[in-house]
């Protein structure tokens, strides 16, 4: 049986990717690097001039230096070489941004008849868990940093979610953004699927592609470890809980094996290793 493709319209929400520095905990947005005054202004006045990045003289909610959190985050995270660029072309020329990217028109729903390529930000959307919601960077990421990978909120919907465990192969040192955020540097260990399911309820159910399951041990032999070992194209991400070696017998398929967390150039943020087809991703594990 061919693995089912993503049939339902999964709503991607844009989570703010806040820069982190230390390999363990939150990096730039925690610790002693991020200044309160980078994002907040008490009086919106510096010698009488506004401190808002958009030069608006009016105060903004939460004392932000922009109209809202989205606009504020993108002051650093779009088009700047001093922070990871999460929108459209990468100012840092990261070979393959681990979380992908949002389109330039990140706020616009996809044209009729097409599917979204990324989490839709700043616009009311149907929530995967029911009802409606408006997603912003801080829906997923804690602007004040957390001990979690990429400052992901420990429990975005307050219903309990484990902290993703991720390791990096290199450490950040301020000038190596392109390397630090490259997918080749990241080793997912555990917990990311459960974190995603916090919002995308039901995606770990039997009618969805298996997740958190070892390629070598897929039910009914649907996946082939030798096939995975023999991949020649850029590999899709996998969880590798027991070591940092890929390929190795502990490699597991998970949400990010198929989807970029922020988005990609493809529908539903899917990963096309050959740049053109979904099959090039599927065939990394499946022989059918």
């Amino acid at each position: 049986m061919r693995p089912s493709r993503q049939a339902r319209g999964v709503r991607f929400v844009l989570g703010l990717s806040l820069v982190a520095s230390a390999a363990g905990a939150g990096e730039y947005h925690t610790g002693t690097t991020n200044n309160c005054s980078d994002c907040h202004t008490m009086h919106n006045s510096e010698n009488g001039q506004p401190m808002r990045y958009d030069n608006d003289k009016n105060g903004a909610p939460k004392l932000l230096r922009a109209a809202d959190s989205l606009q504020l985050c993108l002051q650093c995270h779009d088009g700047q070489s001093t922070a990871p660029d999460v929108v459209d072309e990468d100012a840092n020329q990261t070979p393959d941004r681990a979380a992908g990217f949002f389109p330039r028109n990140w706020w616009q729903p996809p044209p009729s008849g097409t599917n979204p390529t990324a989490h839709l930000m700043g616009t009311q959307v149907d929530a995967p868990w029911g009802g409606q919601t408006t997603l912003t960077c801080v829906s997923c990421h804690d602007p004040h940093g957390t001990a979690s990978y990429r400052n992901l909120k420990l429990d975005p919907r307050g219903i309990g979610a484990p902290q993703p465990v991720v390791s990096h192969q290199i450490v950040p040192r301020g000038g190596n953004i392109a390397q630090f955020y490259d997918s080749a540097n990241v080793r997912y260990k555990r917990g990311m699927t459960s974190w995603c399911v916090n919002c995308h309820v039901g995606t770990n159910q039997p009618d969805h592609h298996s997740v958190d399951i070892t390629i070598d041990n897929s039910p009914s032999g649907l996946a082939s470890y030798p096939t995975w070992v023999g991949v020649t194209l850029p590999r899709v991400p996998v969880q590798t809980p027991n070591d940092d070696v890929i390929p190795s017998p502990d490699d597991q398929v998970f949400c990010l094996s198929c989807h970029k967390a922020h988005g990609s150039a493809n529908p539903f943020g899917l990963i096309y290793p050959d740049g053109a087809t979904l099959d090039s991703a599927c065939s990394q594990c499946h022989v059918e």
Binding site: T33, N34, N35, M42, H43, G48, G59, L63, H144
Partner: protein, 385 residues
């Protein structure tokens, strides 16, 4: 600045006033000839000796080389004040580095600067004497003060804030005469006692104080940050919420930056408790939740758990259950060595100076004041800390 034409008479002020009233500038210590000269001529000192110094000295025995001056002053306005209050051991030093030994936790108002001082008292670190810059946030109408009470084109002077002839009831003689009728609401009251009087705006925790010792060992405790506390007494002045006349006083120049929830320039409302667009400076209890939970982004336990705390307006000095931040929570009134005169005080600092204090092992960033900012904000806010 509109100046009131003050008719000066050459009569020594010998009015007997209580020693606690206004300290040196009011009461029976300051005499007219300390600051004024009738003819701008002194061939000899008041005790007959010569020469007559040209820099400030005790007992009126001096006359500046610059003059004659308006209002029969011995020196131009700021120079006159600084003739005693800068570089002298007999009076508190308010400009730049303290000539005298520092009080335990530094001067409660910190230090002024002027363009000539330079590092570490650059002009962007506090109030700058003679500055003609318009006060940021200038909107005196918000606190019922005349729109023209302060003319920045005349330059910032000591008497822009302080009453040079003293006030029997005003803390540090605050409240310029130019405020006119608005001065009453803008002059903080105070008490000097080891027992707080919560009806007063300021509590100087000393058994007593007698001015005119001419000795820093005597006047340092009076000016020590350690000994100064601020009570909370809520009111609405003009259209602005306030919890202490200190805030109202600051608002006479920086009105747009002062107020509490519901004030248009501050934001927040019962419908949007956290809708602040500027940091509140009054009537927002730290950590308050519920229907009046404007303090929801702060944490009272974080503040009370600090071993070294910034000042707040609070009458409960045990649990700080009514503590609200104010201008004096974050800024030194005169300034200090930090941007905007901010107090970078870590909640576990082992030593407190006019600049604040860092925790053991903390090192400030080489490219800014990030650690300092975090320390200050972290007094009440756990985010990012």
């Amino acid at each position: 600045m509109l100046r009131k034409l003050v008719l000066l008479v050459g009569v020594a002020s010998l009015t007997a006033l209580p020693a606690l009233a206004g300290e040196w500038h009011a009461g029976n210590n300051n005499v007219c000839t300390d600051c004024h000269t009738m003819h701008f001529s002194m061939q000899h000192n008041w005790d007959g000796t010569t020469p007559v110094p040209t820099s400030g000295g005790a007992n009126g025995n001096w006359l500046s080389a610059s003059g004659p001056n308006q209002y029969l002053l011995k020196a131009p306005a700021n120079q006159l004040c600084l003739s005693c209050h800068d570089g002298q051991t007999f009076a508190p030093d308010v400009l730049g580095v303290n000539t005298n030994a520092s009080p335990t936790q530094g001067r409660s108002a910190g230090a002024l600067n002027d363009p000539a001082l330079g590092s570490p008292y650059e002009t962007w670190k506090g109030h700058t004497l003679d500055s003609t810059t318009a006060p940021p946030g200038f909107n005196p109408a918000l606190v019922g003060a005349p729109a023209t009470w302060y003319d920045n084109t005349q330059g910032l002077e000591c008497i822009s804030c302080h009453s040079q002839h003293g006030s029997a009831t005003a803390y540090r003689n605050l409240g310029s005469y130019s405020l006119g009728g608005a001065a009453t609401a803008a002059r903080p009251t105070y008490v000097i006692s080891t027992t707080n009087d919560a009806t007063k705006d300021v509590w100087i925790n000393l058994a007593s104080y007698t001015a005119n010792s001419g000795n820093a060992a005597t006047f340092n405790p009076y000016y020590d940050t350690l000994n100064v506390g601020y009570n909370r007494n809520d009111a609405v002045v003009g259209t602005t919420h306030t919890s202490n006349r200190m805030d109202t006083f600051c608002a006479t120049c920086h009105g747009n930056f002062h107020g509490g929830a519901g004030d248009a320039n501050i934001g927040a409302s019962t419908a949007v408790l956290d809708g602040f667009i500027r940091h509140p400076t009054s009537q927002v209890t730290i950590g308050a939740s519920g229907t009046q939970g404007y303090g929801g982004h702060s944490t009272l336990s974080r503040y009370t758990g600090a071993t070294t705390k910034v000042k707040v307006y609070a009458s409960d000095r045990t649990g700080y259950t009514d503590a609200t931040p104010g201008c004096i929570s974050c800024h030194k009134a005169h300034g200090n060595q930090n941007p905007f005169g901010l107090i970078f005080l870590n909640r576990t600092a082992t030593a407190v100076t006019e600049q604040g204090g860092y925790a053991t092992g903390q090192v400030e960033m080489t490219n800014g004041y990030g650690v300092g900012y975090r320390n200050l904000c972290g007094q009440c806010h756990s985010q990012g800390n």
